[in-house]
Symmetry: D2
Subunit: 425 residues, 4 copies
């Protein structure tokens, strides 16, 4: 969201002491204090419906009762909080639960790497291992991709403002057109030609990295057919396929992994955000056993053993023991899609376009600054909702997956009122 000029006494501490880099506290200029499920309250007691969910880090909602209990119990018992990559009981239990509940039922065979507790750390480790096992340096990424803010991840990120922030040229990556990027043009044909032709100027890459639904890039959902074609290209040219499921994974699109409906089998998968269950820092890199060619400690980091996160994460996995959770998401996703379509039709001035799938949807607008205005108005009316896209032109909906129908409807009503208000000005 573009930085609003709103300011008030409440925010003085942040304005005075914090770096100018702060961003969300500008668009939502209040001090938040409490949260439960899909609701959040500020210090004035004002209630907000959360359609943002920590940018996808709170799929299971705020302060889930069971997680709270487990965390408190663990702390009370002097459980180890910090452990790097030492063996601990919570790490062991998480590994076993992840294998049993997630990997085995999906016929997926991955070694689990704890790369440091952030999404960008997972991406950096994925790029490293792909380069190591192939001996190649180039990585193909896509237009409007977002993979993180450290130099390795930034080099495969599309946004020019973020890239420019690096202060150095970013290399070893080639940006290819995402699905349906150029009107009436076939991105697959383009990619294949570049890879087939030894004179194309594009080296055979170590990996192709992609998000199945681009979150920051504007809620661009690739078609399943396109994902399968990309996988086929990877197999044909012996390129590793990395799916960055940091935002779209952990159920966001309806299945645990966002790529399940495509039936593809990535070589490396990056998970973070909601993998920690309660919003606590955690990340995983899943690597096919044949590619798990790391030397001990070749990639490391201090916070690979966030045991509180392991505990909440293990609790969260219970949601995936049956199909119920997944089916619920799909039902709510359909409801969301219907309402979005209605809103777009009701407000033709928006020139709105429905985007996304699962509970990762959005409305692309056309006017400069329009989406930001809608989000700012929504905030005033009690809805936390964010923009995305290269020009902040998309209103993005990422409600907690556990939101109930009422919450979803109420949130969308606030949104509609806000749109109405903004367009009436």
């Amino acid at each position: 969201m573009q930085a609003a000029v709103l300011s008030n006494a409440k925010m003085e501490t942040f304005e005075k002491l914090e770096s100018a880099v702060r961003s969300y506290s500008r668009g939502w200029p209040t001090v938040f204090e409490k949260a439960k499920g899909y609701k959040i309250w500020d210090i004035d007691g004002k209630e907000y419906i959360d359609f943002f969910a920590g940018a996808g880090a709170l799929n299971y909602g705020h302060n889930n009762d069971e997680m709270q209990e487990k965390l408190i119990e663990y702390i009370k018992n002097d459980g180890i909080l910090h452990s790097l990559d030492m063996g601990t009981t919570p790490r062991k239990k998480f590994l076993e639960a992840f294998q049993e509940i997630i990997l085995t039922p999906r016929n997926l065979d991955y070694k689990v790497m704890f790369p440091g507790p952030t999404g960008t750390n997972s991406v950096e480790s994925a790029l490293k291992i792909a380069r190591k096992v192939t001996g190649r340096d180039t990585v193909i990424s896509f237009t409007n991709a977002f993979h993180g803010m450290t130099i390795g991840s930034l080099s495969v990120t599309g946004n020019s403002f973020k890239r420019h922030g690096a202060g150095i040229p970013l290399h070893h990556s080639v940006s290819m057109p995402f699905d349906e990027y150029v009107e009436d043009q076939d991105s697959i044909a383009y990619i294949e030609r570049f890879l087939e032709d030894s004179g194309s100027g594009v080296a055979l890459p170590a990996a192709i990295i992609l998000e199945t639904v681009q979150g920051e890039g504007g809620i661009n959902a690739a078609r399943m057919e396109w994902l399968r074609k990309i996988e086929r290209i990877c197999r044909r040219f012996n390129i590793l396929l990395i799916v960055d499921d940091v935002q779209a994974g952990c159920g966001r699109t309806g299945t645990f992994f966002s790529f399940e409906p495509a039936g593809i089998n990535p070589d490396v998968v990056c998970l973070s955000k909601s993998i920690g269950g309660a919003g606590l820092p955690m990340a995983l890199t899943l690597i096919k056993p044949e590619y798990d060619q790391w030397g001990p400690g070749e990639h490391n980091g201090t916070f690979r053993g966030n045991n509180l996160a392991f505990i909440a994460a293990t609790e969260a996995l219970n949601n995936w023991k049956s199909d119920t959770f997944s089916n619920e998401i799909k039902r709510k996703a359909a409801l969301l899609k219907t309402r979005i379509t209605e809103i777009i039709q009701a407000y033709p001035e928006l020139k709105g376009e429905a985007r996304g799938r699962g509970l990762m949807q959005g409305i692309a607008t056309c006017g400069e600054g329009l989406a930001s205005e809608i989000c700012a108005e929504s905030f005033k009316r009690g809805l936390i909702v964010e923009t995305s896209g290269p020009k902040d032109e998309v209103v993005k909906f990422l409600p907690p997956l556990i939101i109930d129908e009422e919450g979803l409807k109420n949130g969308l009503s606030i949104l509609e009122e806000s749109i109405n208000h903004v367009l009436s000005k």
Copy 2:
């Protein structure tokens, strides 16, 4: 520590399910379960004295009572766990306490940036802002520096195994000799000549980044005079001085910032590890106001709002309200230095060399693999202690700062017995 070949049934889960990159669980092949203060216990109830402290992330010891209470209370009250960089009560309180307890009394004026919860994230942000404000791309780092594992930080890290892991050449950095790097040679003369001479092949850098005591690089402590000369070079050539205080900061060397005794005033400071108080992921980048030229969101990340960490961090700052804590560290540091010197003298076969300052000390050994053997033997005898240095040749002591004299003595006794045992083989 070099990966030991030890293996046992307890470790089966990790061996089977976790990536080959795991490292500490090889050298300390057990499952840890509980910890308090400077002690830690595994699932068999075996007790260990902790001379490792989460690689410096647990300066305040494990499971401090006050922190536990505050964390539990916060969770019980549905406090917001995850908040990106939104305003929250714990973030506000931390900012105010940090200003009041740490910055103001030291006459330091910094804007506080939350760059993502890891040290490498702080370093990446420091490099970015230095490049942005100077418009230059090169950064001078030092031999045996360690700044992190993401590509930006890795490019200013010395270790060739880690660098090689990048899979790509690392650029925009120049490695200069750290204090006393080459025998009888003056690193300052060398650096100045390179910067003065327009034909030197070394571009005027955006920044010089350094650790005052190199932790991973072998517990190399720069002399205060050297630090002052480096600062003078920075001022003379308008180069930003970045101190990476991720490991040496937060009291590790006796003062809150490791550079305080030198009387220098860095332009940017990186903090992580123990800043989170209880070992929870957190990091800060401190930037002089005149250099805080970020655009909103120009560097961001999902886990910049780890409120549990803010709560423990704020509690931890209380230790710095008076000089008591600092004086205690210095007293124990002297004790540690004395015992290290005795051990070196008692075992001339070690060809030992005392390294470091504060509670960040070490014994450099000469034999290939000797330090690793000592650490492995210490583990068997109930002491957690790690190696560092380019050849893992240094036994490194990083006890929690809150360790009492008895704990320190007992740990050192185990160490001495282990040395004796290893040398007698």
Copy 3:
């Protein structure tokens, strides 16, 4: 052409003393001794028709009488042979003739730079000045482009074998699809979308560099309409347009500059090869006055003052004083095109495709190694002709522009016999 295994006593010196990098002396294993016009003779007195013309460096044929006279006279008079970029009489005369005969009549306004006597040197200087005046680092080049073998030029060259030879990753360039590169896809649409979208991952470039007819890349001639669209993109985004006319310039396609029929006005033009008139090393970089922002000596080189080349070059310019020379080329080009078409129709097994324009044409073949076989057979029968293209799949015709009809017909007869022979095997 692929290295043939032919070898004989004549070649012993080269095989024994010269580096393995030698290439043409493998495909044409003889020692050449004499040349005149479009003919060349080896030490055995065998005559060859030259359809190669020094890879385009001998547009005016071998040993033009007037040039010979002028060169001899100059040497006899102790004229200065080597002069760096000092003022000399031949340099002065060349500058004046180039202005009067070439630039002024075409309404072109360029400052003339002598960048060192090779094409790659001209390209390197063009890239430097484009980066300097725009302050940007990226350059867009095209699939199957060839711009030279030094690192700067290689980074904008498409061929993977050549690029790989760099031994380092090549950066600061983005390879875009040349005209009609991917079947049924519009390269202009792709390029525009990448440049319009701030999330595309492609930075605004300093320059677009192109050959209007790609020589080494397979005799791919861009359509005039495509060239105009590229120029329009450059103007819209304030990108410099660099035309590398090293091979296609100096009349090769029928006009002095290859881009004249498109009516475009490049910001920088690279010339070499035939600019030296007689095959002597020389190169020019033409720069619009507003972009000629060099500091004195910012790009330099020892052989920028090859006065023998200036003399032959000035003599060669006389060909352009009227339209006669240009019209002759076009007439012969039409004849060449007709014969190529006939040959393709006569030999359907070739699956031949006619390529190119002017006296820069070729036949693309489909079989692996077929074009190389045809060239090898042609050599035996007295025709010097080369392959090009990423798989050496194109038989390339670059006869001297001064060739007469008889020479052209005889050469093509030898070619046809060679095709017939190869296909009959």
Copy 4:
């Protein structure tokens, strides 16, 4: 030399039509027309003594009678002028003469590569082959090195003005201190420490590239002992030693190769400038047979077959058939050294320092702009002499090796008068 503001009618063509990059025609603002031996005349008939020799490209003087005859004869006989890397008679003869006269008597075993006709081309090819055979990417170069202006060569060049001209950051190189670079510091100790220590941040390089006497960098002559130590380092770490003998080779320092007195045996040698005998563009890369691992055409270029240069080059080699030529150079070098020393003593205001060896000597001055003023004054008085060094602080003497005692003395008299004049102002 700094660009002087002198201007006159004679120079109008250059000022109007040539690029601002022109440099020597600013410092020596006249039009040169004729030259013989060590003398050169401008269009006004003014005579100059040449202490510049085409920046070392005219070691054998201007317009040697025998070379003129051979060139004229070859042209008259329709000899092939341009031949890429095809076999030709002059190429064959040159290869044989170079083997017999230069390599064999010196017990040197090299394959001869023709890399394109310029020094930078030779350096680019040397870097490529070193990277290819070692599989490493870093190259160690030295402070104040000059290796050329194309991106590969520029990356191992020290001068910041030249480097900045690249417009992109230059990588894959590490600049180490040349012999006696930092007062009282031992550059060998530094280099060895960086290479021994796996934590130094400097990767094991593919090659070390050096000039034995740095020409552009200020006439810095390495001691023989230092060269031997560098060679020992190369052998110890399996690093290729590349000697760039473009300026210091071909007899400039008294022996054909400048490294002969050190008794070292480089793996790759770059030659250009005077290798062409008469100042015609030509270059060689000499590669030990075991490292000549090129694929055919992996490095190429249009002007690798400058047959006029081969003819003059072969003629020039005759000078090396006995010791006479070499002994003559040494005698004149001693004379030059004596006179330089006298001048320095006679003019203490210069704070002069004698530099260099052979006929590659200089006087380092201290005042800003002083050396440039001396050169400008010398030009007025009939002496062509140039500055070098990072601040143009050195007056550099590169007379043709064939100069006689009288010429040397007369030139030095003019120099002394010019110094006297400048200091008296």
